[in-house]
Symmetry: C2
Subunit: 356 residues, 2 copies
Amino acid sequence: MSENKFSELKNDRFLRALQRQPVDMTPVWMMRQAGRYLPEYRATRAKAGDFMSVCKNAELACEVTLQPLERYELDAAILFSDILTIPDAMGLGLYFETGEGPKFKKTVRTEADVLALPQPDVAVDLDYVMNAVTTIRSALGGRVPLIGFSGSPWTLATYMVEGGSSKDFRTLKRMMYQQPEVLHLLLDKLAVCVTNYLNEQIRSGAQAVQIFDTWGGALSTPAYEAFSLQYMRKIVSGLIKEHDGRKVPSIVFTKNGAQWIEQIADCGADCVGLDWTVEIGDIRQRIGDKVALQGNMDPSALYGSEATIRAEVKRVLDGFGDGDGHVFNLGHGIHLDVPPENAKIFVDAVHELSAR
Amino acid sequence: MSENKFSELKNDRFLRALQRQPVDMTPVWMMRQAGRYLPEYRATRAKAGDFMSVCKNAELACEVTLQPLERYELDAAILFSDILTIPDAMGLGLYFETGEGPKFKKTVRTEADVLALPQPDVAVDLDYVMNAVTTIRSALGGRVPLIGFSGSPWTLATYMVEGGSSKDFRTLKRMMYQQPEVLHLLLDKLAVCVTNYLNEQIRSGAQAVQIFDTWGGALSTPAYEAFSLQYMRKIVSGLIKEHDGRKVPSIVFTKNGAQWIEQIADCGADCVGLDWTVEIGDIRQRIGDKVALQGNMDPSALYGSEATIRAEVKRVLDGFGDGDGHVFNLGHGIHLDVPPENAKIFVDAVHELSAR
């Protein structure tokens, strides 16, 4: 597969900012920008039946990926998919119960469970993801770059071991403190798979990739290094760095992880995502211009008035300050009950208030 | 009420450490030390019927408060109660649904709701708490000091506005960004009540007090100052500082709040609690010896072997380093499925490994 089959990229603000190159205005996208806050998304999902049916159908995944781009001047699109496709491909049986989040039919709790997990052939077993990537990239026609993504090994492990969402990861933590070697075996397997998965997304058309470490912030400092960051470092070092003549930047995002920002900034990724609980200016002071920073407005600020939203955008822009390497985003996914018009105020404010 | 009615304090390690005075060994207690991991607690609770019936009966509250002291060489007892007694006294109707955590029959979402909230007379409306404090203090016979506590205004507001537990506090955050003045009205009312509540606990026999800000870490930096820390500062400044000739130290604990440690250390409290996601040594470097530090072992480390638990205890002790002002604790409440014998290993290890 060659880059030539896709249209030339017209808006490279996002890719430039990830590489800390000058831009005319700060690029912006929103985590979960294709989602339930949009009535057109809810319509597609209703048509498909459920969430995973949208993910598994390239045309529908493409449709919802493009929906927010029709409304807002976003600088990137992100593949519509779920972070739990990998454990599903490993045979755990992903399903969703209304109001309860993701669940697995099978859990992974013993050494035998880990050893029995197959290493998926990502091009085959996750072909629906790759089809979606290629379909979306083609449909984008070069408007903005397409972001591929995966959950981090630690974050995937939380769901695989607990069997679903969890408040304090007691089963996984028990494994971590009782049988760390079993957990390492699992994380190692996952790191290999995530690397293959992201590289296959890149070969299929993804122009940047993000690793979501949603639950790394639940760890102590040495445990974060040993059980989460170490594996993300391995993944990043195994990523395709250039594809069809263009650099493919990577983003690592550990929610509640800013206490480890120096170590994360050294993991090899081009950009580090920040949640809204830290000041982006403080973080930049701590790590300098080693990596680009992505974030970090409180998603709940989108409940506010136009004046409130604009003031929050300005606060984050001013916090980052002058210089290159800022990708504007929310500090977490957009809430499902945000009025769509507020997202427009947000995106427009980022561009207007950051225009060089 | 006079101190004279109570026995003289035999073990003042905890109170001394809170004031950064020398101790023979590091004092230790565990958040939620009276709780479901103990079979004797489960027996008392079964006898009482439910959780709030234990809280509201001074004899039973005393019984469960003392249970962990019978098993472990703890250096403090903590009042058995709930952080939501104040909103309950304000008429919101606290109840517990099995497996779902606390709920309120009424919520607080409008200015009218806030204005309608009565300011409780804590000595009368929360007399069951004060009776429990006095009963426990008497029963302790001076063995160890008794800690009183309250939720922080922000943390109480999360439950009052959401009507129970919440993942991302969307209703409260909407209020914060849309009607900050209404939220301030609520927080102000709560701050007055928490101050009165803690002072009445002190008059009733509490020898130190802790403010639990469980959900302050969900805020952005300016919002944390405006909506959580500001009110804790007001409370601390209004606390009785000495009672019957002895200093009454205060502890402030914001989970996931270490990014604001400098500001928290300046709030007037004697001690700052830390969760397990930060290194206590790094924190001490940042703030020096301005306040005592409480924490901060991962509660999940208690799932480990004796060797693992002892190694974690040593790591935290070494992290704090030499000098005074360390109260050892878990970084959050002990998990309900920890084997009771592991808590003994933990408590004994703190004393043994820290003996001067």
